[in-house]
Amino acid sequence: MSSDVVARQKGVKVLLHGAWRQFAGGAKEVALEATTLREALEGLTERYPSLKERLRDEHGKLRPHLALFVNDEDARLLGWEDAALKDGDILHVIPALSGG
């Protein structure tokens, strides 16, 4: 296995979709270390503080109209913020279908 492949599989990749890119100054992809979805979101807001109030209300609750997927799985089915992450996982941060 090449060192490039090892490097790519290290850590978690967070992909920001739609409006979430705008809230992070245009960032599309963030690589970070995390073992749970909660840790990944903490790492994300450390990297992009502007996301903090967009992801959570003043009491720390994740906002509605936010969809989170781990690879192809809806994070709600994986324990939501407690969902386990491993090296190579991709966390998708998606604006939930809403509005009209």
Binding site: E53, R54, P95
Partner: protein, 354 residues
């Protein structure tokens, strides 16, 4: 000094900015922040900042401010209820630049109903605890559109004296800059079965240049207050319906105001179509004006839907739910459509640039 006009038009799909040097030909820019609904946007004449209440589903509601007349926008730190509160900031209903004597101060009203003060030109917001601690807060209830604080009426002469209007919570007055508040709902000449105005305040305006003058649009009532008075004088007689939202007060004549009556159940204009009603005698009498407005149109204009500029020959403006904006350059006698096909217009704020 040459003046120009700018309208901040909040819609259900973003903020539009209309500009004109002669108030006849207008350019329209936008939308900013679409598809978020813009409940209200305002301009601070003291130092040319713009503020927008962006009530988004994605990422939650936020307040943005611009220091370059809308070219770029920055996001405020959100209004935040204190730790342990059972309430969560949901959305902003109104943003009011502070008095000329209080530089850097900006006020905001939100849902859940609360008053917020910024002392750094809208970058951060602090809850007004004294209003929040009112024992009567437990009596506040939501109206059809939610439970919000939407009117912040700062006295022309005294920045420490102001009223706030809450749906449905009535009027509160402070005379010490918000350190303490008193309920201020006593009415004169209105319904005999109750001593107070109906608590569903729709719009409360302070005259911008004459201390003590107020004009208030309540759910099924209109009231006036003159300097020195401590009650609200019923001035609904002469209007075709008691209901309505949009209201404006003449900046150079403390006896003149406008409002747009609506059907109390349908929430749209009654037959024979939308019209602006004007008083020149503190609401004692009202005159219907519809020249230039579409005949028979059951249009609707909301709480923040009407405003006026500060030209010597004042311009009056209102927006409608079907995406039109109308202008009058003869103090409301005749009207011209200056924008159409916008999204549902929620708010119109008129700024005078010089």
């Amino acid at each position: 000094m040459t003046k120009s006009a700018m309208l901040l038009v909040g819609t259900k799909k973003g903020l539009y900015t209309m500009r004109s040097s002669d108030r006849k030909k207008w350019t329209v820019d936008g939308p900013h922040a679409a598809p978020a609904p813009i409940h209200h946007a305002s301009f601070d004449p003291r130092e040319q900042s713009m503020y927008a209440a962006i009530n988004s589903t994605w990422g939650g509601s936020r307040i943005e401010y611009s220091r370059d007349l809308g070219k770029t926008w920055l996001t405020s730190k959100n209004p935040a209820f204190p730790e342990g509160s059972d309430r969560t900031f949901y959305q902003t209903w109104h943003i009011e630049p502070g008095h000329a004597k209080t530089p850097n101060v900006v006020w905001a009203g939100t849902e859940p109903a609360a008053l917020w003060k910024s002392e750094d030109r809208g970058e951060t917001w602090t809850l007004n605890q004294a209003l929040d601690d009112q024992p009567s807060r437990k009596e506040w209830v939501p109206g059809f559109g939610g439970m919000g604080l939407h009117s912040i009426a700062i006295d022309a002469a005294d920045p420490n004296t102001m009223q706030v209007g809450i749906s449905v919570g009535g009027v509160y007055t402070t005379t010490d800059g918000g350190k303490s508040w008193a309920r201020d709902n006593a009415q004169t000449g209105g319904p005999e079965d109750r001593p107070d105005v109906f608590g569903c305040i729709h719009k409360l305006l302070a005259h911008p240049n004459v201390s003590g003058v107020r004009f208030m649009r309540v759910h099924l009532e209109v009231y006036w207050r003159d300097p020195g008075e401590t009650t609200w004088t019923y001035r609904t007689t002469g209007l075709p319906t008691k209901f309505g939202f949009a209201a404006a007060i003449h900046p150079h004549d403390a006896k003149t105001a406008w409002c747009i009556p609506l059907h109390d159940m349908k929430r749209t204009a009654i037959e024979p179509g939308i019209a602006v009603f004007k008083t020149t005698d503190r609401g004692a009498t009202w005159t219907r004006h519809a020249a230039g407005l579409p005949q028979g149109a059951a249009l609707e204009s909301l709480r923040e839907g009407m405003d006026n500029d500060d030209f010597d020959d004042v311009g009056v403006y209102f927006g409608t739910a079907n995406g039109d904006v109308y202008s009058s350059l003869d103090e409301g006698k005749s009207w011209e459509r200056i924008a159409q096909y916008l999204p549902y217009v929620v708010s119109v704020h008129a700024a005078t640039l010089q």
